[in-house]
C-alpha cells in the first residue's frame, strides 16, 4: 500500500513505456504478407507480425499501464481516507534542469486534488480503452491509436501529478500535442486535419497567455529573491511549487500593484480558457469531434478539457488573491460559456456536436464555480461530469457504430429496442446531466447553483435557466435518437458487448457517486471534506451551514427547472405536440443565432482575415510614413532604421563596402566618446 504511494512517479512512466514499446513495434519491419493485406484492411495476416506489432499486445500494454495507474490511484484514495487530521500533501522532486541559479525540477505532488484527478483519469481511461478495443477493431491504425492513447495518458498523468507550474506547463503542451494527434487521427479526412489544425491554433492563443503569465510570475518572484528564500526553507520543493503559492501570493500582494496581480491571474487563466473551451476560445472543441468517438469521450469530455478547471484549482491562491479583477473575470467568462454552449446545443442535429456543446456548457458551470470561490463545488462537478459525460459520448459512439457511421439524429429514432443497453445507459446519463432525481449531476450542479444564489441572484437565475435548457436539449437528443420510429436508411447492427460493458460500468458512478460523496449517505465523508483548499477558511464566502440551507432551497427549485425541461422536450420531440418548424418560425431570430453558433466562427474568420488585412495595411502605411520621413529628413531614427537599412541593401557591393567602412568609423567615434564619458 505504502509502496504505491511512495512510487507515485511511476504512474506516468507506465504509459510512457507502453507508448515507446508500441512505437518500437510499429517501427519493426513488417513481413511481406502483412503489407499485401494492409491496403484492404484485412488482418488475417496479423499472425505473421512480430510480437510487439500485434494488436493484442498494443491493447494489453496500454490498458495494463492504465490499470497500474488505477491501482496507484486506489491506493492513494486509501491514503487520503487515513488522513484524519487535515490533509497533508506529499511532494517529491527530482532535479531536471540547472542553469546557474535557475533550477527547474520535475516532481509529484500528492494531495486530495491529485487523488481525485488521478482516479478520474485512470478509471475512465481504462474503460474507454476497453471500449476502444471494440470501436477501432477494424481500423488499420489500431496499434498507432493505442500508442497515441498511451502518449496522451503519459502527458495527462504527468500534468495531474505535477508539483510545480513549470512542469505543469510542459505537460500541458504535451497533452495538447497528443490531442492534436488524436483529433487528426483520420488525417486523410480533410475535416479532421482542419479540426486538428484549428485546435492547435486556438490553443496557441491561450497557451501564449499562459506562458506570458508564468514568465511574468517567475520574473517577478525570482528576481525579487522570494523563491531563493522560500526554497532555502523548503529545500524539497521546486521553483513555482504549488505548495508555495500561498506565501508567494502573500508576498506578491504586498509587492506589486493589484492590477498587475490581476493581470497575471488572467494570463494564467487564458491557458484554462483554451483548454477548457471557454468563450471566446471555445471554437475548436466542436470541430474536434472529427476525431474517433473514444477520443471525444476521453479527451474532450472527461480529462483534458477538465484540465483547465484543474489548473485553476492548482493556482487558486493566485486567482483568488485578486477578488476585484481575476475572480469576476473568471465568473463572467464561465457564465457566458454555460449559456452559449447550452443554447447552441439546442439547435444541433449531429449527436456528437450536441454533446460537445453540452460539455462546453458544463465546463462553463465549473469555471463559474471557481470564479465564485466555490472551489469544492467546481471540482465536485468536474468529478461527476467526467463519469456521465464519458458515458454519454461512449453511448453516442455505440449508436454511431451501430448506424454505420451516421451521426445525424434526424436519421435515427426508435433505437432503444435495438440498442437496449446503450439506450438505458444514455438515459441514465441524460438524467444525471440534467440533475434530476438525486443522480450524481444533481448534487454537484446544485452546489454550484447554491454558491451562485449566495453570491448574486442574477448569476443564479442565468445558471438555473441554463440548467433547465440542459435538461431540454439532453432529453431532446434522447428522444430523437432512441424514441419514435427509425428514420434512417442504414442497417442497424447489434450492440457489441465489448462496447456496452464499459457503458454499464460507467453508469454506476453516474447514478451513485453524487449521493455517496454528498455527505448524506452511509456515513461517508462529503467530497468537500478532503477537497477543500487551505485558503477556504480565509477566502470562502460561504460558511458551510449557510450553504447547506441554501442547498436545500436551491435543490427543490432546480429539480423543478429540470423537470420542466424534460416535459418540454417530451412534448416537442416525444409526443410531437408542438411542431418544431412552428417553433423555428416563431423564434426565428434566436434560432438562427444559436444554429449559427452565435456567429463565433464567422466573426473569427472575419477577424483573422481583417486582422491580417489591418496589419498589412498598417505595415504598408508604416512603410510609407518611414520612406517619406527619410525623404523629408524628419523620420525619427528608431522607427526608420528598418526601412533605412533595407534601402541600403541595394545589391551593389560598393555600397556594402562603403557602409562597412563608415560603420567602422562611426563605431570608433562612438566608442571613443562613450569611453571618455564612462
Amino acid at each position: 500500500m505504502d509502496w504505491f504511494i511512495q512510487t507515485l512517479w511511476l504512474v506516468p512512466i507506465y504509459p510512457l513505456v507502453a507508448f515507446l514499446l508500441i512505437s518500437l513495434g510499429r517501427a519493426l519491419p513488417k513481413p511481406l504478407a502483412y503489407d499485401a493485406s494492409e491496403g484492404h484492411g484485412h488482418t488475417d495476416a496479423s499472425e505473421a507480425l512480430p510480437l510487439l506489432a500485434k494488436k493484442e499486445v498494443a491493447f494489453a500494454l496500454t490498458s495494463g499501464a492504465t490499470l497500474m495507474g488505477l491501482v496507484h490511484a486506489i491506493a492513494s484514495i486509501g491514503w487520503l481516507f487515513n488522513q484524519h487530521n487535515g490533509v497533508v500533501a506529499i511532494e517529491k522532486n527530482w532535479q531536471w534542469l540547472q542553469a546557474g541559479d535557475l533550477v527547474l525540477k520535475l516532481g509529484t505532488l500528492l494531495d486530495a486534488n491529485t487523488v481525485m484527478m488521478l482516479f478520474v483519469v485512470t478509471f475512465i481511461s481504462l474503460f474507454i480503452q476497453i471500449y476502444t478495443h471494440g470501436y477501432m477493431n477494424h481500423d488499420k491504425g489500431y496499434a498507432k491509436f493505442f500508442g497515441y492513447l498511451a502518449l496522451f495518458n503519459f502527458s495527462m498523468l504527468g500534468l495531474v501529478l505535477s508539483s510545480n507550474l513549470i512542469q505543469t506547463y510542459m505537460f500541458w503542451e504535451l497533452v495538447g500535442v497528443s490531442s492534436y494527434l488524436l483529433i487528426g487521427f483520420w488525417f486523410h479526412k480533410p475535416a479532421a486535419a482542419a479540426a486538428s489544425m484549428k485546435a492547435f491554433l486556438v490553443n496557441r492563443v491561450g497557451d501564449f497567455g499562459f506562458l506570458l503569465g508564468i514568465l511574468l510570475l517567475l520574473g517577478i518572484t525570482f528576481t525579487s529573491g522570494f523563491w531563493h528564500d522560500y526554497l532555502s526553507i523548503n529545500p524539497d520543493q521546486a521553483l513555482l511549487s504549488f505548495q508555495g503559492f500561498m506565501p508567494m501570493v502573500g508576498a506578491l500582494a504586498k509587492g506589486i500593484p493589484a492590477w498587475l496581480l490581476g493581470l497575471i491571474g488572467i494570463l494564467v487563466f487564458m491557458g484554462s480558457m483554451a483548454k477548457s473551451a471557454q468563450v471566446p476560445l471555445h471554437t475548436w472543441l466542436p470541430d474536434a469531434m472529427e476525431g474517433p468517438t473514444p477520443i471525444s469521450a476521453l479527451i474532450h469530455a472527461a480529462t483534458m478539457v477538465a484540465a483547465g478547471v484543474y489548473l485553476i484549482a492548482r493556482v487558486f491562491p493566485l486567482v483568488a488573491a485578486s477578488t476585484d479583477i481575476t475572480m469576476p473575470f473568471i465568473t463572467i467568462i464561465g457564465v457566458i460559456t454555460a449559456i452559449v454552449g447550452a443554447t447552441i446545443a439546442v439547435t444541433q442535429t449531429d449527436i456528437k456536436k450536441a454533446l460537445a456543446y453540452s460539455t462546453m456548457s458544463q465546463l462553463g458551470f465549473m469555471v463559474t464555480a471557481m470564479g465564485l470561490g466555490a472551489y469544492t463545488a467546481g471540482l465536485f462537478h468536474l468529478f461527476t461530469h467526467a463519469f456521465f459525460k464519458a458515458m454519454l459520448f461512449l453511448g453516442s459512439g455505440s449508436v454511431i457504430h451501430a448506424c454505420e457511421g451516421e451521426q445525424d439524429m434526424r436519421k435515427m429514432g426508435g433505437l432503444l429496442k435495438k440498442l437496449p443497453v446503450t439506450g438505458i445507459t444514455y438515459l441514465i446519463g441524460t438524467v444525471a446531466i440534467s440533475g434530476l432525481f438525486w443522480t450524481s449531476g444533481f448534487w454537484s450542479k446544485d452546489e454550484i447553483l447554491a454558491a451562485a444564489a449566495h453570491q448574486h441572484p442574477v448569476i443564479y437565475i442565468l445558471l438555473s435557466a441554463t440548467a433547465g435548457l440542459t435538461s431540454f436539449y439532453m432529453f431532446r437528443t434522447f428522444f430523437m435518437t432512441f424514441m419514435g420510429t427509425y428514420r434512417g436508411e442504414a442497417h442497424v447492427h447489434k450492440e457489441d458487448p465489448v462496447m456496452t460493458a464499459p457503458l454499464a460500468v460507467l453508469a454506476v458512478p453516474s447514478l451513485l457517486i453524487g449521493v455517496l460523496l454528498s455527505g448524506f449517505a452511509f456515513g461517508l465523508p462529503a467530497f468537500g471534506h478532503y477537497i477543500t483548499h487551505g485558503l477556504m477558511s480565509e477566502l470562502s464566502h460561504h460558511p458551510h451551514s449557510l450553504l447547506d440551507a441554501m442547498f436545500n432551497k436551491v435543490g427543490n427549485a432546480s429539480q423543478m427547472v429540470g423537470l420542466t425541461g424534460l416535459v418540454l422536450a417530451f412534448a416537442v420531440y416525444g409526443m410531437k405536440l408542438i411542431n418544431t418548424d412552428t417553433v423555428k418560425r416563431v423564434l426565428a431570430w434566436p434560432y438562427e443565432l444559436f444554429r449559427n453558433k452565435w456567429f463565433f466562427d464567422d466573426v473569427y474568420q472575419g477577424l483573422v482575415e481583417g486582422g491580417f488585412m489591418l496589419i498589412a495595411q498598417m505595415s504598408s502605411t508604416f512603410d510609407k510614413v518611414v520612406i517619406d520621413g527619410v525623404v523629408n529628413g524628419v523620420g525619427c531614427i528608431t522607427s526608420g532604421t528598418g526601412g533605412l537599412i533595407r534601402r541600403l541593401q541595394t545589391g551593389r557591393i560598393q555600397t556594402y563596402v562603403t557602409v562597412l567602412g563608415l560603420s567602422v568609423l562611426a563605431l570608433v567615434v562612438t566608442y571613443q566618446v562613450l569611453m571618455v564619458k564612462g
Binding site: 541593401q649 541595394t650 545589391g651 551593389r652 557591393i653 560598393q654 567602412g661
Partner: protein
C-alpha cells in the same frame, strides 16, 4: 632582413603610411567598378598591414620575429585569396560577359 628604423622616422610614421595605404585600398574597393581593380585593392590593404606588422616588430620587439612571420603568413593567404578571387571573376565573366561590379545587383532587399 630587418627594416632600419631611423630615429627621425618613428613607428608612427610607418603606421601613418600603412594607414594611408590601407585607406586607399579600402576606397578602391568601395568605389571601384572594375572587379580586377577591386581585387588589387584588397591586396593593397593586406600589404599595408604587412608594412605595419614589420614596422611594429622592429620597433617593439626586435628580438622576436613573430610579426615578420605573421607577415609571411598574410602573404600566403593573400595569394590564395587572389587566386580564388580571379577564379570567381572568370566564372562571372563566362556567365554574363561583364567584369563591371555594377552589373551584379540582382540580389538585394
Amino acid at each position: 632582413m630587418s627594416v632600419a628604423v631611423t630615429p627621425e622616422i618613428g613607428l608612427s610614421t610607418y603606421l601613418v603610411l600603412a594607414s594611408i595605404l590601407f585607406g586607399l585600398g579600402f576606397m578602391g574597393v568601395a568605389t571601384g567598378r572594375h572587379l580586377m581593380r577591386t581585387l588589387m585593392c584588397v591586396e593593397l590593404m593586406l600589404n599595408a598591414v604587412n608594412l605595419a606588422l614589420v614596422a611594429i616588430n622592429n620597433t617593439v620587439n626586435p628580438g622576436d620575429l613573430s610579426g615578420q612571420v605573421f607577415a609571411i603568413f598574410v602573404l600566403t593567404v593573400s595569394a590564395a585569396e587572389a587566386a580564388v578571387g580571379i577564379a570567381i571573376v572568370i566564372a562571372l565573366f563566362k556567365n554574363t560577359g561583364s567584369v563591371d561590379a555594377d552589373a551584379f545587383k540582382e540580389l538585394k532587399g
